[in-house]
């Protein structure tokens, strides 16, 4: 990939990642966030966070499948950090618009309401990932330890999806598409690894 192509792709990814928050800002300025602006803000930031996390999970399977697309790895950190950005906006929307900065309300919510507990845990698991997202951190931790730490993202996505399901009412299927996508990506990784190893494996002599 040439440098200009990479730069233009990065610009496009940045724009795509900024789109949800840009729409919210535009809606807020024009007083056009719908009948229930609080819900619009909370829902769209939460959904953006989950979507970005799921997209970032897709990068490894894509690289395993198509070696020509191995450059997509250059975008994973960006997607992950934007996911953290939206998760933080989502948390802040809860703190400001639902709990109205009342610490007592927040503590009660986290202790008593399982969907909030799951959501807060999801955000907390993203914090160390965001903090160690720099190249310096990878060097300091060493590639292997860094990779192990970043497996935590599976916990974040799972908790995020559980948070989504526990929030909606009986029979509401809004979380279904993203749940199916996440499950497919979870399964894709070991399946592709196994498939690749089968195709490249040399015949081994039987142990004596």
């Amino acid at each position: 990939m040439t440098r200009p192509t990479l730069i233009s792709l990065k610009v496009l990814v940045w724009l795509a990642c900024l789109y949800p928050v840009a729409m919210l800002v535009y809606g807020a300025v024009t007083n056009n966030l719908g009948p229930d602006p609080t819900k619009t803000i909370t829902f769209s930031t939460g959904l953006a966070a989950l979507r970005l996390l799921v997209i970032s999970l897709a990068i490894t399977p894509i690289r395993q499948l198509f070696s020509r697309l191995s450059w997509t790895i250059k975008f994973r950190r960006l997607l992950g950090l934007f996911a953290f950005f939206y998760a933080s906006l989502h948390l802040f929307a809860y703190i400001g618009l639902y709990a109205a900065f009342d610490t007592h309300v927040m503590i009660q919510d986290v202790l008593k309401r399982r969907f909030i507990t799951a959501g807060v845990l999801a955000w907390l698991t993203l914090v160390p990932l965001a903090l160690t997202s720099t190249t310096g951190s990878i060097k300091r931790l060493g590639g292997k330890r860094w990779q192990q730490l970043h497996k935590l993202v599976y916990a974040s996505v799972s908790l995020g999806i559980i948070h989504f399901w526990w929030q909606v009412k009986t029979g509401v299927m809004t979380p279904m598409p993203i749940t199916l996508t996440m499950t497919a990506l979870f399964v894709a990784r070991p399946v592709l690894t196994w498939w690749k190893s089968r195709n490249t494996r040399q015949p081994q002599p039987r142990p004596a």
Partner: protein, 327 residues
């Protein structure tokens, strides 16, 4: 039948200054015309016009003749017609708030009959036109509080359900009233799984007979839009919104507490009583505060009032009851 009629209901003690001037919203079209005439067509101006005097572009004329009621709630800014008709929970037409306005067009509101059944002297079927003529229609603005934590102010039209119940001659053994909503899988194909359809709701007889309980046939001067429960529904303003069954086709008098759809779906979340109560949490959220639909996101949350602000009229119905247990 004992009908409680506490003093505040007489209307005599409401200062005339507190009553919303009716001409203010009756004149809304001329107001909008004036706004348009000034050329203020910018986004902001349109929005202001809508808040002060909601647009009624889809309805050419006021179709319902109404009289004022002392039971109307005053001192609150009405929610716009647009928000009242585009932010609905009517699960038969889809679970998203914007689904009912898009999908409820097929609801056949005429002809429409309501079956009166159960513990009554003579079971019968009443036509919607007879319901409309049974009693003068009143303007009744009420607070509307959803169990999800949001609220609206809606100018409903109807009359006390007690007027209809009196015509039904319930037997002395009738202790509860059950309301069944319209149900047709072909018309309401968006209804999610996991629920007992048709939608069922119920009230204790004394709750149903309380003058505040409104047999509702319209809002904002016109017949009910389909997505708001056309052509006839109830409104129980001191209870969470799901208690107010929409598009009613049957009213059944029973001696046992009837099953209710949300209670069947999640009994720990939605009790039979479901009175608005800031001190009793929903398992998934606090009910202490609410957000008013149509206000910007930075508008402060409002404190939720006991019985949604209708304590004077209804608190006596629950004397001695543990409202935490009977949520």
């Amino acid at each position: 039948m004992l009908i409680r009629k506490p003093d505040p209901l007489s209307g005599s003690n409401i200062p005339s200054s507190e009553i919303t001037p009716k001409d203010k919203w009756l004149n809304r079209r001329s107001f909008i015309a004036a706004v348009a005439a000034t050329g203020a067509v910018a986004l902001g101006a349109e929005r202001i016009g809508e808040i002060l005097a909601p647009t009624r572009a889809v309805h050419a004329n006021s179709k319902l003749q109404t009289v004022p009621s002392p039971l109307t709630t005053t001192g609150e800014q009405l929610t716009s017609l647009k928000d009242i008709t585009h932010y609905n929970n009517f699960y038969e037409f889809g679970t998203d708030k914007s689904d009912p306005s898009a999908n409820a067009g097929g609801l056949p509101t005429r002809p429409w009959t309501v079956k009166i059944s159960g513990l009554v002297k003579t079971p019968k079927t009443i036509d919607i036109d007879s319901i409309l003529k049974l009693h003068p229609l009143e303007d009744r603005t009420y607070r509307f509080r959803c169990v999800e934590g949001w609220s609206m102010i809606v100018p409903w039209i109807g009359y006390s359900l007690s007027e209809l119940i009196k015509q039904c001659d319930p037997l002395p053994s009738a202790k509860y009233v059950q309301f069944l909503s319209y149900w047709d899988r072909h018309v309401e194909k968006w209804a999610p799984g996991g629920y007992n359809w048709p939608y069922s709701e119920g009230l204790r007889m004394d709750e149903a007979m309380n003058p505040l309980t409104l047999l509702t046939v319209g809002l904002y001067g016109d017949v009910l839009p389909n997505q708001d429960g056309a052509p006839v529904r109830i409104i129980v303003p001191w209870k969470y919104g799901f208690k107010s069954a929409k598009s009613i086709v049957q009213i059944k008098f029973t001696d046992k507490q009837p099953n209710t759809t949300w209670n069947d779906a999640a009994s720990n979340e939605y009790g039979f009583y479901s009175n608005v109560n800031p001190k009793v949490d929903h398992p998934r959220w606090s009910q202490a505060t609410e957000r008013r639909i149509g206000l910007p996101f930075y508008a402060p949350r409002k404190e939720t009032l006991m019985f949604n602000g209708y304590s004077d009229q209804v608190a006596s119905l629950y004397n001695g009851m543990n409202l935490k247990k009977y949520y």
